[in-house]
């Protein structure tokens, strides 16, 4: 192991990691917002919007992220829409993640039985109040584990960003291998970088899940 190589290029990895995390976080937040919106459309069976959401979900879930990115980065300019690599990364991640998040939210919403809704309605609660006080708190304990899995899945998916020349972790590693042939060091640092990002998130989520399971009953 060439330690001086590792020492020399660590700052590059740190910079790339910051970029990966930044784009990942923005993309995931947008995916959560989009997912929640889609889940509510499906839950309340809103006409027209419901069909649009259904098409979007199939499109998003059944095409690879890299294809979606290529479409954004190489396809859209042909139609006169020019997006930066960063924008492509964020939009691509939100587009892919939105459908997965929607399914997680929906499974939570659907886990709250009809009779719970009817008892809440019978008490005179309005639709919004039923959602806020009865459905969401119960749905959360079902949704959070799936949501957590999605967050981790999406963070890992960011590794294809290099395909649209975004200088993320994968890009830096490939670059260094190409220039110096220090494959072992470059890949070890790559693995370490992803672990440093994702492991803490993973641990925080499992603690959260354990707490919610306790509070759930």
């Amino acid at each position: 192991m060439d330690w001086s190589f590792i020492q020399k290029f660590t700052p590059m990895y740190v910079e790339a990691a910051v970029l990966t995390v930044t784009i990942g976080v923005i993309g995931i937040l947008l995916a959560i917002a989009l997912g929640l919106l889609c889940a509510l459309v499906k839950y309340y069976k809103i006409p027209v919007a419901r069909q649009i959401v259904a098409v979007y979900i199939e499109l998003s879930r059944n095409t690879p992220l890299i294809v979606q990115l290529f479409f954004l980065y190489f396809g859209l300019p042909k139609a006169g829409i020019l997006l930066s690599s960063e924008a492509c990364g964020v939009i691509g991640l939100a587009f892919l993640g939105g459908s997965y998040m929607a399914e997680s939210f929906l499974s939570g919403l659907k886990s709250v039985g009809k009779i719970q809704l009817e008892s809440a309605e019978s008490l005179g609660l309005r639709r919004g109040q039923v959602m806020r006080y009865i459905v969401i708190p119960q749905a959360a304990s079902v949704s959070v584990p799936a949501l957590a899995a999605n967050v981790i899945f999406l963070l890992k998916e960011t590794s294809v960003f290099s395909a649209v020349s975004l200088a993320d972790l994968m890009y830096v590693a490939k670059d260094l291998i190409g220039m110096y042939y220090n494959t072992g060091e470059a890949l070890t640092m790559l693995v370490a970088a992803y672990l440093v990002i994702i492991l803490p998130i993973s641990i925080v989520f499992s603690l959260l899940e354990r707490r919610m399971r306790r509070a759930g009953n």
């Binding site: 009779i115 009817e118 309605e121 309005r126 109040q129 009865i134 708190p137 119960q138 509070a215 009953n217």
Partner: protein, 252 residues
Amino acid sequence: MTMTEQTEHIIEINHLVKRFGDNVILNDLTLNVSKGEVVVLIGPSGCGKSTLLRCLNGLEPIQGGSVTLHGEPVEHGKPSLYNVRQKIGMVFQSYDLFPHMTVLKNITLSPLKVQNRSKEEVTEKAMELLKRVGLEDKANSYPSELSGGQKQRVAIVRSLIMNPDIMLLDEITAALDPEMVHEVLNVVLGLADSGTTMMIVTHEMAFAEAVADRIIFLDGGVIVEEGAPAEFFHHPKTERAQRFLKTFTYSR
């Protein structure tokens, strides 16, 4: 005279028709419930008694006729339903407490959020009602820590605290063990004694006879027979009611 009688009705059901597809559940049903009256609906399963209660609370759309509470229409899906529902307490067979809230929160949620009453007043009232049903020590427990009978008593309190004009009880003991049936039905008898207007669906015939001012026997979506409990249970007039009541007695 007719005018005063009119105003005394809490609920008026006029020519109510309820269908699921081609299946007629309630067929041109007319019935009034007066203030302080306890009406017990009995009849074979599928006769439409639970559906009738659900229509009274606007949980089901109806296909004909009308339901009014103090003259205000109860209409499924209309915004006016929110106000009408506050005056109707409903308790279901499966209790349906909110599992993520303590007993006290279950009870106080609706008076706080729907009626905007003060927290002090609502908490005090909740404790008073819990005491009345013998559960004051369970205020901070979660529903999962309660027995079925205890849950059902909490569900009754949760409806009562809204000061409803009428309580609708839909087979509230059907899912309970026999000894729990007793504790829940005693609470209901207490409510009847204190003048609560109620409409009750039950299969507990001894209880029906004790609690009812009037028995309505439903079959095939129509009222087949109605009358005072003593008369209905001991001298049923219709052949259909006689046959139904026989299913509750055994001999060899």
